[in-house]
């Protein structure tokens, strides 16, 4: 069943192993000096999440909770709220359309960074960045709020709440039928 070992296998190969380890000592190491020297990740690395904005500053998140439902680790908590165009009651418009994400939390103690939430998002509001330093000294700070996750305002963007600037209705946003020069989404990261 087992073939008899040749002389080479019996006597030379065990010795040759020492040569392998000795030669390896003089080879280039694969170590990255991480805290001192941060190398870029792979372009599509699954890092911290980000809530994106439309070019006029309105949020893309519509509070649909599909991300929360898709999450296998139950790390996302979303509460939707209604947009209103009449400025009287103090709420206003945060996203084009009917609803917006009023509360948005991701618990990075639970999140496994699998990216199923990104696949579930119907408006590309939720994407992932390449930021991977998600460590802290206490649990509370690892629950990221909407304010921690929202993409920063780029030039040309306006802090919501404000009316839809790029079209008459949300359809214009979703179809991309707006004229304003769109700052690239990649730049927002």
């Amino acid at each position: 069943m087992t073939e008899p070992k040749s002389l080479k296998e019996q006597f030379w190969d065990p010795v040759a192993g020492f040569g392998v380890t000795f030669r390896t000592m003089f080879k280039k190491v694969v170590t990255e000096q991480y805290p001192f020297e941060k190398l870029p990740t792979a372009p599509r690395f699954h890092g911290r999440h980000q809530l994106n904005r439309w070019p006029d500053g309105l949020e893309k998140c519509i509070g649909c909770e599909l991300c929360a439902w898709a999450c296998p680790a139950d790390a996302i908590y979303v509460e939707g709220g209604s947009n209103s165009d009449d400025t009287g009651d103090g709420s206003g418009r945060f996203s084009p359309g009917e609803r917006y994400g009023r509360v948005y939390q991701i618990n990075y103690l639970r999140c496994i960074l699998c990216g199923l939430c990104i696949e579930a998002c119907p408006t590309r509001a939720l994407t992932m960045t390449n930021e991977y330093e998600l460590a802290d000294t206490n649990r509370a700070d690892l629950i990221y709020e909407k304010s921690d996750l929202l993409a920063p305002l780029l030039p040309g963007m306006e802090q919501p709440p404000h009316p839809m600037r790029l079209g008459d209705d949300e359809g214009a946003y979703y179809r991309g039928a707006y004229a304003a020069p769109a700052p690239s989404e990649r730049g927002a990261k």
Partner: protein
Amino acid sequence: MMHVMTTQILGQVAAVADDLSAFGQDPWWLILVKAVAIFVVLVLLTLFNIWLERRVVARMQHRIGPNVNGPFGLLQSLADGVKLALKEDIMPKAADKVVYFLAPVIAVIPAFVTFAVIPFGPEVGLPFTDRTTPLQLTDMPVAVLFVMAVASIGIYGIVLGGWSSGSTYSLLGGLRSSAQMISYEVAMGLALVAVFLYAGSMSTSEIVAAQNPGQEYWLGVIPVPTWYALILLPSFVIYVISMVGETNRAPFDLPEAEGELVGGFHTEYASLKFALFFLAEYINMATVAALATTLFLGGWHAPWPIIQLWEGADSGYWPLLWFFGKMFMFIFMFIWLRGSLPRLRYDQFMAFGWKRLIPISLVWIIAVATIRVVTLDGGIDRSYLLAAAGVFLVLFLVLFFIGDSGVEEEETARAAEAEVDAFAGGFPTPPMPPGGAVRGAALPMTFADRRPNVISDHTTTEATSQEDKP
């Protein structure tokens, strides 16, 4: 023959005892300085060895190793030591308090004591005085025996540590450790006998001197080897193997196999007590390396070409360099072994110690003793004897290896005879070996190729089931 040998040895020992006159002359403050120096050197050596081991093994695995704390990461082991010392000292409820406390001390003291008789160099002048003193704490006519005896006491620390923890795993680990160390101590002691026979002394400084007589040449060019590593090569090989076993180092690190066990005898130990065990282990590594240097590699004397090129290489404090150079060669060997070899199984390990190393070294001792007596008394030509011994040794080795592999092949052949249908029960199961339950390594599972039989099998089962119905 035995009688002649003993009288000769005793005579030589008596003669040697006079040569140790350089020792025992130091005033108390010099002894204190030497003792403290050895202590400090050993502690620093341990820290350095841990660092060296981590760095070298890391390089062998394409890594860098500790490089953050201090220059080149040299202070890493110091930081680890401090961390260990600051950890909580836990005393298990089931522990035997006194013995549990004493065990690490018993393990670590002998480790330090053995270095008292290791010669680091020749007699040197002390700075700021006109006094000369050997670079060795002390020496005695039975120094190597003393090392072996004290090292055995260290094993008590391990056994008692395992026993007093009040934990089954610690007890088993302690038993395994001590069984291993005792087994390999036998082979180690036997390997040293040939050295005693050739040096005519058991004093370390005498053995070093005996290995370094004036250099002679064959035909005026080839230097005659004088180190026992070359003259007594089998002894050297056996010693090196058994010193790895003796120190519980890879590939013989079964008692502390970190992939398989929690810890071994020191499972229940924490904080400084654990650090003491760790310290003892690394000092033991240095001890066996220093002993190998002293007994087989000419001790503190400069290696062959250097002393010919430079007269002063063997005087003053330079020998420290040669001594530690040779010692670190062994330390590197330890590390290299750890980086290269997988761990042995326990039965393989014990079989290797008792069935290979000890018989081989016994035969070798008889050969050496015979040659020695014949050479000293005259009589038969020495070359005939050497040839005879060589033939005998080769025969012996060949018989050892061939005998075993033959048996294994037979066993495999017998197991292969019966081809079993592994899918008989509808689920793949390994065949039961013909001799009952497997002893030793189980054979790999094999399944008969069923593909051509699928259709016929199907039909037959259908047929049988139809037959069964009515």
